[in-house]
Subunit: 346 residues, 2 copies
């Protein structure tokens, strides 16, 4: 899922996302809550209509940004109290409030509020957070179903989120707690926040093994190109990451041969496309020398072209992963990508 | 002509310019001389190939930016000596050098080097600058024809530039001097730099009346929407202006009803397109409320969408002006645009 934090994928028109074949975007509830505000979006007909995007949207709960961006946060069983990073005003995010905001936004998939903790975390802290996360999931589901019943049907798919830090048994326990509540889809959160890739895989595997095969399994906030196939191999169906778009704005281009840091002087006269094997519209028309120039000159067009290419690269990588599954050679495919990415710049 | 200063129209992919029907772009020699450098562009096959644009390009002489951006400039009959605004290095721009750089860039239309002076200017200063401008035009043409003869044909249309500040007789004198040299097209420079619109029109009219009807007449660096028809009425065929693109980045939208300052809170819930009468792809898909949000949130996509619309507005305005000429009602058309633009914000 390309990330459309503030109701846009940075530097891409929706027309570009149409061309790229994006089927679903992620919107950030925390950001949309502040700007333009979920009540305004509700009033204007929901996020799809507001941003003129008729394919799927997933919104997160806002919790992750409250924990990472806001000031003076104070967690209790009720919810999390925090100050706006914009104007200092005080707010309270509860499981019910997170569900309510997301109902107003009206995305296709909504996430429950969970407690995000820093890793590595001591076991007692992880256990306490997990207990709260489980209680919050139950409240979020109850609130959501009650609201939905008032309106006659369930307007969104609400996903639970497996937590448990880096403790395998806590991950399993969390998955079981959520299965009892019964969600139409399940996410795995609190990973890829600094721990080694092997640990991420181990924790994701513990959870994924327990989650039902016929419901989406979503690993939140990943990943690097060389990691995606690993996650899919563990049973992950959905991922989101700012990497392709953020890296693009910093002149880091993903290619079939690995990362290309396009500002490097070696590309000054390079008349090849960003990726000679890429079929995206940027690679059909523009050269590395031109992209390098646009970045050196500080032109907005640089971000537009690089982002377009990188999002194509990620979506195409996922298409290739699906193909590798069909042909039964996912493991080989994964190691091929890893080798190409190990050789180049980080 | 949309302005593509550094080999891109800021925040527009060439695909957008294709869609908008842009037939010609302006590139700035001064900027391209520094970044990526004219020798590199020559080596990579010229500006068209470098930026992947196969319709027409016009490059200016670089003189205007030398006079307005560079430090420690010193003018003599030889040329203008100046320091780079980037690294402080010293450079000399002569009429021959300006022609040579533009031959390297390889645009379809190139401009001679002229001396730009601040206005209002005293008559003696304007006369001295005009004398130098005439001498430089002669040298530029001679150099260009000599280079071209070496290569067998004239690779570009080289335009002379009428100067003369705000003195009608100097403007006439300048036009006559250029006619003697015989250029395939003529520009009128040094206007719209602070003097009243009526003065711009008067000076443009003096020059245009003497310039041949069968050769392009190009008024440099104009103009506001409500002024374009006036200039066309004086016999002007070509114009360039950063206004549509620069205003777009500052959230100023041109519409059939006048300027819309889209950040204004009155547009928070406005679900109409930027311009209800506009046929551009931005107006077909996005609302004012959404554009306002994108600007408020500081999203790059705001500049992309606003620029696309504003360039469409300008190109469409020119189409309407051509139509008004065909129907014989240009004067009425001009006063209609003026009235709509007088009512709204500046």
């Amino acid at each position: 899922m390309p990330v459309g934090t503030q109701a846009t994928v940075k530097s891409l028109r929706n027309e570009a996302l149409d061309e790229l074949g994006a089927q679903i975007l992620l919107g950030n509830t925390y950001h949309l809550y502040w700007r333009p505000g979920h009540e305004l979006i509700r009033k204007l007909g929901g996020l799809h209509k507001f941003m003129s995007w008729d394919r799927a949207i997933l919104t997160d709960s806002g919790g992750y940004q409250v924990f990472s961006l806001s000031e003076l946060r104070k967690i209790s069983d009720e919810g999390v109290r925090f100050r706006s990073h914009l104007d200092g005003s005080e707010h309270l995010l509860t499981p019910e409030k997170a569900a309510e905001i997301q109902l107003a936004l009206g995305a296709d998939i909504a996430m429950v509020l969970d407690e995000c903790i820093e890793t590595p975390a001591p076991r007692d802290k992880a256990e306490a957070a997990l207990k709260r996360t489980a209680a919050w999931a139950k409240r979020a589901r109850a609130y959501f179903v009650e609201c939905a019943n008032r309106n006659g049907d369930l307007p969104q798919w609400q996903f639970g989120i497996v937590q448990g830090a880096t403790f395998a048994d806590l991950r399993r326990q969390s998955a079981e707690q959520l299965l009892e509540i019964d969600f139409p889809g399940y996410a795995i959160g609190g990973l890829a926040v600094g721990e080694p890739h092997e640990m991420t895989c181990e924790m994701a595997a513990e959870a994924a093994a327990l989650l039902p095969k016929d419901r989406p399994r979503y690993l939140m906030g990943v990943g690097r190109p060389e990691q995606l196939a690993d996650y899919v191999g563990l049973g992950i169906d959905m991922m989101d990451c700012v990497l392709p778009t953020r890296a693009a704005r910093h002149a880091c281009i993903y290619t079939s041969e690995g990362r290309v840091l396009i500002k490097n002087s070696r590309y000054v006269e390079d008349q090849r496309p960003l990726d000679p094997e890429c079929s995206c519209s940027v690679c059909q028309r523009y050269t590395r020398a031109y992209l390098r120039h646009l970045f050196a000159a500080g032109e907005l067009t640089a971000a537009i072209l690089a982002t377009h290419h990188n999002v194509h690269f990620y979506l195409d990588l996922m298409r290739q992963i699906r193909e590798a599954i069909e042909f039964g050679n996912l493991v080989k495919f994964a190691s091929g990508v890893r080798a190409r990415y190990a050789a180049g710049p980080a």
